[in-house]
Subunit: 83 residues, 2 copies
């Protein structure tokens, strides 16, 4: 289980997945932040991979992105070895 080699930090992979899904849905950061009941600047930090979110905020974001937790983390897993 080589956990670090060639793999982006989970915060970065999570942020990338959130941003990609947000753009798929045609939402602005303002839209998504409001739907998830988080602050816009917090969401901006999440997307840049600088926030170590907790379960409760992860669940809010998944719901606002209309994804199950498994679907959201499937995207995070898929980004494991890529950009």
């Amino acid at each position: 289980m080589a956990k670090k080699r060639g793999r982006a930090d989970i915060r970065e992979r999570f942020g990338f997945a959130v941003k990609a899904r947000r753009e798929e849905l045609g939402l602005t950061q303002e839209d998504l932040a409001a739907a998830a009941r988080i602050h816009r600047t917090y969401l901006s930090d999440v997307e840049r991979g600088t926030r170590n979110l907790s379960l409760v905020n992860v669940e809010r974001l998944a719901a606002a992105l209309d994804l199950s937790l498994a679907a959201l983390f499937g995207r995070v897993d898929a980004g494991a070895d890529g950009a």
Copy 2:
């Protein structure tokens, strides 16, 4: 999106999924805590659903449970409307 009705808190669902998987693998809390590099009492709190874990600790636990993030959260989703 009725997020609360009839659904356990994500902390509880996550803890239940972790405990169930740990027991499937025949691991003690001590075994799993060591593998995930977290404290045994912290793991105990996680399993009782009283910890709002962050992404970094979620990833450590998933790896120690030999599950992808998607597989772990698939179990969390599956517990969404149940016990």
